[in-house]
């Protein structure tokens, strides 16, 4: 999933990117320990409301459709394996199937918010705020800045193939996988190696690696929106944990 190049101006777009990342990291750990349907329903509903703040209902619909397709395939194979092994719970279709689905959906909602409401600049600024060592910070910036450039390179490669009346698609990947890789990936690798050389020369000339620290070009300060999101998250997580413990008793 790609980050956006342009920011919106809704509530969720004003939330600091570090708040969104912190929230997703805490939730990625918490979600593993929640295994009661009631607590998962609560966290899922909260995450769904959080994702709805994006107002990208079409994207949400497509995302959920993809998750449902993936789970349907998994369930089909799960059913087949269950039938073959004739194990306990074979062909299980009750609500226990829903628990892994809810876990994946919760994380998808959180991921969607980061992907659709974070700009490249805000991410770079937040990384600067973290004051990471240059050998970690610099490759991260290279990745963030280079992903759009690589996407463009791939478009050029596809266009050059079209000029020669060659098309790399689903059929060619299945029937001519090696040829498809040669046509699509090899030029991209060579282009990446060249770009890497050019960028390292530019970094040397500008003395980026020798600089003592990174300057800030904008302040990263938490606002009212961050406070509201964090307080809501703490309340939901606490309620989820209480429900989990309550159900266990």
């Amino acid at each position: 999933m790609m980050l956006q190049n342009t920011a919106g101006n809704g509530f969720i777009h004003r939330v600091n990117v570090l708040t969104k990342i912190a929230l997703s990291l805490v939730l990625s750990v918490l979600i593993i320990f929640l295994d009661q349907k009631e607590s998962l329903y609560l966290v899922f509903t909260a995450s769904f409301v959080y994702a709805s703040l994006l107002k990208k209902y079409k994207a949400m619909f497509v995302y959920y459709l993809m998750i449902i397709i993936m789970f349907s395939i998994s369930l089909f194979f799960s059913y087949l394996i269950g039938r073959i092994l004739s194990s306990a719970g074979a062909g299980e279709t009750d609500l226990t199937m829903l628990v892994p689905f809810l876990r994946v959906s919760v994380m998808s909602n959180i991921t969607m918010v980061i992907a659709f409401s974070t700009t490249m600049d805000s991410l770079i600024n937040s990384l600067k705020f973290l004051r990471l060592p240059s050998f970690i910070y610099f490759p991260l910036i290279v990745i963030i800045r280079f992903i759009p450039s690589f996407v463009n390179d791939v478009k050029y490669i596809r266009e050059s193939l079209k000029v020669r009346n060659i098309s790399v698609n689903f059929i060619s990947i299945i029937f001519h996988p090696v040829l498809s890789v040669r046509l699509l990936i090899v030029p991209a690798v060579i282009r990446a190696l060249r770009s890497s050389d050019e960028l390292s020369i530019a970094a040397d000339i500008k003395g980026i690696m020798e600089s003592s620290g990174t300057g800030k070009y904008a302040q990263v300060r938490p606002g009212k929106e961050d406070l509201l999101i964090l307080v809501s998250a703490v309340l939901v997580f606490s309620a989820g944990i209480i429900m989990e413990r309550g159900v266990l008793r």
């Binding site: 993936m70 994946v104 959180i110 980061i114 290279v142 990745i143 689903f170 990947i173 890497s196």
Partner: protein, 180 residues
Amino acid sequence: MGKKRKYWESWEIVSIGTFAALIRISSFLVSITGGGMNPVAMILKNLIATSLLVILLYRVRKYGVLSLYVLINSIMTMVMMGRGMMMAPCALLAGLIGDWLIVMLGGYRSTAAVLVGVGFYETAYRIVSLGLGYFFMRENINLLYFAVVTVSIGYIGCIAGIFTGMHFSRELKHAGIIRL
């Protein structure tokens, strides 16, 4: 008075970033073109990712390159996708052991050492992924069997990728694009 020389040179750092981006884009591209759950696309995706990792190791021959790549990749996954928090420490440990194995078996100039190091990292990464997958799908263990099949198909591509990466590195050396 000479200034203390930094361990990582700028071109090495840039190469790691560039390859991390390239691996992401290539895998995404093959997944989209190949239709996601298609086994050929799954093998190809892993083959390309591992090949590019081997090329990176041939290009930047310095202790810690695999670990730094894993660290950068983990941070990127956490920052951009908001996941991988549980996976990151285990992946970093696998990367460190992979680097250590390469040095112990003859260094980054030894083909066999790079093969073993990358092979160990990829294997350990998949085992840890499945372990984590178990926690996500523990309510219905049959779902995990499907994940095992998917990961195993990808692993075939991974193993093939080690050899294609070596072959590709030699080709790039002949073309004068990387120094071996």
